[in-house]
C-alpha cells in the first residue's frame, strides 16, 4: 500500500503532544458547511463547524471531547474518520495523513478506526440479524472467512456481555443497553486500534449507563484501545478519560488531564461548564456561574475569542484576535488571553 507519509521533521509545532507514543495527530482540522442562497444557490457563506482544531492522542489513551450542541465535537469526530470530508487540515494516523488517501486506501484504514454511535435505535439496520450486523465489516475486510466468522461473532457477543445465540435475532428484540452492546461488538469486529465513541451512553437509562461505561472501560483496558470519547456529560467524561478537550463554537478552548481540568480549570468557559453541572448531593448548595444568553450562531461567530460574548471576564482585547491555544502548565493548554483571572 502506498500512502503519503509524514516526515518526522514537523512534529507538533504547537507542542500539543500527549505523553508517550502518538497514534493520532489532528492538525488544524477544519470542516465548513457551505450556506447557499439567492437565485443561483451560490455559496454565500460558511458554517465553520470545526475551525482550526489540533490535538494528539497517544496510543492506549482515552481522551474526552466535550462541548454543548453546536460546539463541533461530533463533526470533529466524524471528520477525523472521514465519515464527512474535512475542508482542511491533516489527520495523521500512525504516521499517515488519512485526509490525503484515496477511497480505496481509506478503506484499509477504516479497519483501524471505528465508531460507536449515540442512538442505538437508529444505528442498527432493523432488517439485518445481529450476526449480519457484526459480520458485515469482517466481510468487507475479508476477515475470518468461513466458519471462523461465526465463531468470531459468538466470541464478540460474549465479550460485550451478550450470548452467542443472540446472533440470529434482530435489533428490535433488544433493549437500548443491549443494542449499544451490539454497536460496540460491531466496532470491535475488525480489531480496530482507535475508536470514536460518539455519546455512547447519552440515550440510555441511568441504571444502564453504568453498565455500558464499565464495559467500554474493560474493553479499552483489555484491548489497549485508543478512544476519543465524545460527550456532553462532564462527570462521565472525567470518570472515563485520561485527558479532556473542551470545545466551543468549533474551536478548542482548553485541553487538560481530567482531574486537573476539574480541579483547576484555566478557561472561563470550562469554569462555567463545570459550575453548571448539577451535583447529585442536596447538601451542596453552590454559587453557580450562570452564562447569559445562548451559544452564538456559527454562521456569524464573534470576532476574536468566540466565547467572549458570554464570558464574564471579557475585555476589549478579546474581540481583537483569536486566542492561541498555549500551554499554561504541564499538559494543560488554554485558548484565552487572560492569565490573571483563573
Amino acid at each position: 500500500m502506498t500512502a503519503p507519509t509524514v516526515t518526522k521533521a514537523a512534529p507538533d509545532s504547537r507542542g500539543l503532544a500527549s505523553k508517550g507514543d502518538t497514534l493520532l495527530e489532528v492538525r488544524n482540522l477544519e470542516k465548513y458547511f457551505p450556506i447557499r442562497g439567492g437565485l443561483l444557490s451560490r455559496v454565500v457563506g460558511n458554517v465553520k463547524a470545526v475551525n482550526d482544531v489540533s490535538f494528539t492522542l497517544a496510543r492506549g489513551e482515552v481522551v474526552g471531547l466535550v462541548g454543548e450542541s453546536g460546539s463541533g465535537k461530533t463533526t470533529a469526530g466524524r471528520a477525523i474518520l472521514r465519515l464527512i470530508e474535512p475542508t482542511g487540515g491533516e489527520v495523521i494516523f500512525n504516521g499517515t495523513d488519512v485526509t490525503k488517501l484515496s477511497k480505496g486506501q481509506m478503506r484499509d484504514y477504516r479497519r483501524e478506526m471505528q465508531i460507536i454511535f449515540q442512538d442505538p435505535f437508529a444505528s442498527l439496520n432493523p432488517r439485518m440479524t445481529v450476526s449480519d450486523i457484526i459480520g458485515e465489516a469482517m466481510q468487507i475486510h475479508n476477515l475470518n472467512p468461513g466458519k471462523g466468522r461465526i465463531d468470531r461473532i459468538a466470541e464478540l457477543l460474549q465479550k460485550v456481555g451478550l450470548r452467542p445465540e443472540h446472533m440470529r435475532r434482530y435489533p428490535h428484540e433488544f433493549s437500548g443497553g443491549q443494542r449499544q452492546r451490539i454497536g460496540i461488538a460491531r466496532a470491535l469486529a475488525v480489531d480496530p486500534t482507535f475508536i470514536v465513541a460518539d455519546e455512547p451512553v447519552s440515550a440510555l437509562d441511568v441504571s444502564i449507563q453504568a453498565q455500558v461505561v464499565n464495559l467500554l472501560q474493560d474493553l479499552q483496558e483489555e484491548l489497549g484501545l485508543t478512544v476519543l470519547f465524545i460527550a456532553h456529560d462532564l462527570a462521565v467524561v472525567e470518570y472515563i478519560c485520561d485527558r479532556i478537550i473542551v470545545m466551543y463554537l468549533g474551536r478548542i478552548m482548553e485541553i487538560a488531564p481530567s482531574h486537573e481540568l476539574n480541579n483547576n480549570p484555566k478557561h472561563p468557559y470550562t469554569e462555567a461548564l463545570l459550575s453548571a453541572a448539577p451535583v447529585p448531593d442536596p447538601t451542596i448548595k453552590r454559587q453557580r456561574i450562570i452564562l447569559e444568553g445562548d451559544i452564538p450562531s456559527p454562521i456569524n461567530p464573534p470576532s476574536g475569542c468566540v466565547f467572549r460574548t458570554r464570558c464574564r471576564y471579557a475585555i476589549d482585547d478579546c474581540a481583537k484576535v483569536v486566542p492561541e491555544l498555549r500551554e499554561v502548565a504541564p499538559q494543560h493548554y488554554k485558548a484565552c488571553i487572560r492569565d490573571d483571572v483563573l
Binding site: V206, N214, A235, P257, L274, S275, P278, D281
Partner: protein, 352 residues
C-alpha cells in the same frame, strides 16, 4: 423537615392509589399501579424514574391527558385543593370542569419545547390563547400579558419577541416561552416533565435558576419529573422514586440521598459518577461504577413480587412472593422493600 411537611403544611394535591392502565393487543399494561403521594403548597416534589417507571403517565393522569381508549384510570383518586378551597377529585371531574383547571390552576411544561409549541402561531398568540380562555381578557390585553410574561421569564426585547415564531428561537428560549405560557394564569401547581433534558447544561442551569426564582415569586408548587439525580438534588424538597409503575421510595431529599432505604435508589446513586469527586487520576487504578445489572422490566410482564427483585443484589426468596407494602421507615420516609430494616441497621452500625 419531613414532619413539618406532612403535619403542618397544607396539601395541594394528593394522589391516592392511582391506577392508570393501557389496553393493548398484547395485554393490559399497568403503567401506573397504585401510586400514592402528595404535594404541599409551595413545595417542589421531585419524581425520579427511568423509562417505563410510570412517572410521565402519572403526570398526564393528573392533567387528565391520558388518551382513552386505550388508556383508562382504573382506580384511585387525585384530590386537588384548588381555588375553590375544597378538595376535588380530578378523576371524577367533568371534562368542562377539568378545562377550567387545566392550563389555569394546573399547568404543564414538557421535555421538547419544539414539539410542544405550535409552529404556525407566534409565541404571543400561544400565550394569549390561555389568557383569553381563562381570564376573560380581550386579545389586546392578553397580548399585553404575553409580553409581560416573556419579560418575566427573562426573554430580552419581549415586545419584539412576542411576535416571533417558535423556529426563530433557540431551545432554551423556547423552554422559557413554555414556562411563560404555563405561568400566564398563575397556576397553583406546575408539572414539569423533564423540562431540561433536551437542553445543554449551561442552558439547563439558566432554566433551573429561573424556575427557582419564579417559584419564590409566585409561591406555586412544582411536580418536577426527571431521571437526572443531580437536578433532583438541586430542585426538590421531597422526592418520590418510581420503578415499574409503583412508588418504591419517598422522602425528604436529604434523607433520600443520605440514607436511601430501597436498593433501587441505592443502586441509582452508586451508578453515577459524581462530578469532581470521581475524576480519573492518571497513574492510579481506574475506579468502577457500581452498575445495576439487567434491564428495566417490561411493563407487560412485571415480576410477581417486588418489580426490582430480578436486578436486586439484596433479594431473598420472599421478595418474589408478593408486592412489598410501602412502609414508613420513620419520619415520613417511605420504602417499598421488605428488607429496609436491615439497611437501617447496617447504616447505624456504620455510623456507630
Amino acid at each position: 423537615m419531613t414532619d413539618h411537611a406532612t403535619n403542618q403544611a397544607e396539601v395541594l394535591l394528593a394522589v391516592n392509589g392511582l391506577k392508570t392502565y393501557f389496553n393493548t393487543d398484547d395485554g393490559v399494561v399497568k403503567s401506573v399501579d397504585g401510586v400514592t403521594f402528595h404535594i404541599n403548597k409551595g413545595e417542589t416534589l421531585g419524581v425520579v424514574g427511568e423509562s417505563g417507571s410510570g412517572k410521565s403517565v402519572t403526570s398526564l393522569s393528573i392533567m387528565r391527558l391520558i388518551p382513552m381508549p386505550p388508556g383508562e384510570i382504573a382506580g384511585g383518586e387525585i384530590l386537588f385543593s384548588g381555588a375553590g378551597g375544597k378538595a376535588q377529585d380530578i378523576v371524577k371531574m367533568s371534562e368542562a370542569g377539568m378545562r377550567k383547571i387545566r392550563g389555569n390552576e394546573i399547568s404543564m411544561i414538557f421535555q421538547e419545547p419544539m414539539t410542544s409549541l405550535n409552529p404556525v402561531y407566534t409565541v404571543g398568540d400561544q400565550i394569549a390563547e390561555a389568557v383569553m380562555l381563562h381570564q376573560d381578557k380581550n386579545r389586546k390585553d392578553a397580548m399585553g400579558v404575553a409580553t409581560d410574561m416573556l419579560r418575566f421569564v427573562g426573554i430580552p426585547a419581549p415586545e419584539k419577541r412576542v411576535n416571533e415564531y417558535p423556529h426563530q428561537m433557540s431551545g432554551g428560549m423556547r423552554q422559557r416561552v413554555m414556562i411563560a405560557m404555563a405561568l400566564s394564569c398563575n397556576p397553583a401547581l406546575l408539572i414539569a416533565d423533564e423540562p431540561t433534558t433536551a437542553l445543554d447544561v449551561t442552558i439547563q442551569a439558566q432554566i433551573l435558576d429561573l424556575m427557582r426564582k419564579l417559584q419564590k415569586d409566585i409561591g406555586m408548587s412544582i411536580l418536577f419529573i426527571t431521571h437526572n439525580l443531580g437536578v433532583v438534588a438541586e430542585m426538590a424538597d421531597r422526592v418520590v422514586v418510581m420503578y415499574g409503575g409503583r412508588v418504591v421510595e419517598e422522602g425528604d431529599v436529604i434523607e433520600i440521598f443520605k440514607a436511601p432505604r430501597h436498593p433501587y435508589t441505592m443502586g441509582l446513586l452508586n451508578s453515577i459518577p459524581r462530578p469532581g469527586v470521581d475524576a480519573h487520576v492518571p497513574g492510579t487504578p481506574r475506579k468502577r461504577l457500581e452498575a445495576i445489572p439487567g434491564n428495566v422490566p417490561n411493563p407487560l410482564n412485571l415480576p410477581p413480587g417486588c418489580a426490582f427483585e430480578p436486578r436486586c443484589k439484596f433479594a431473598v426468596p420472599d421478595c418474589s412472593k408478593a408486592v412489598p407494602p410501602l412502609e414508613d421507615t420513620g419520619g415520613g420516609h417511605m420504602a417499598r422493600c421488605i428488607r429496609w430494616q436491615d439497611f437501617a441497621k447496617a447504616d447505624q452500625e456504620v455510623r456507630a
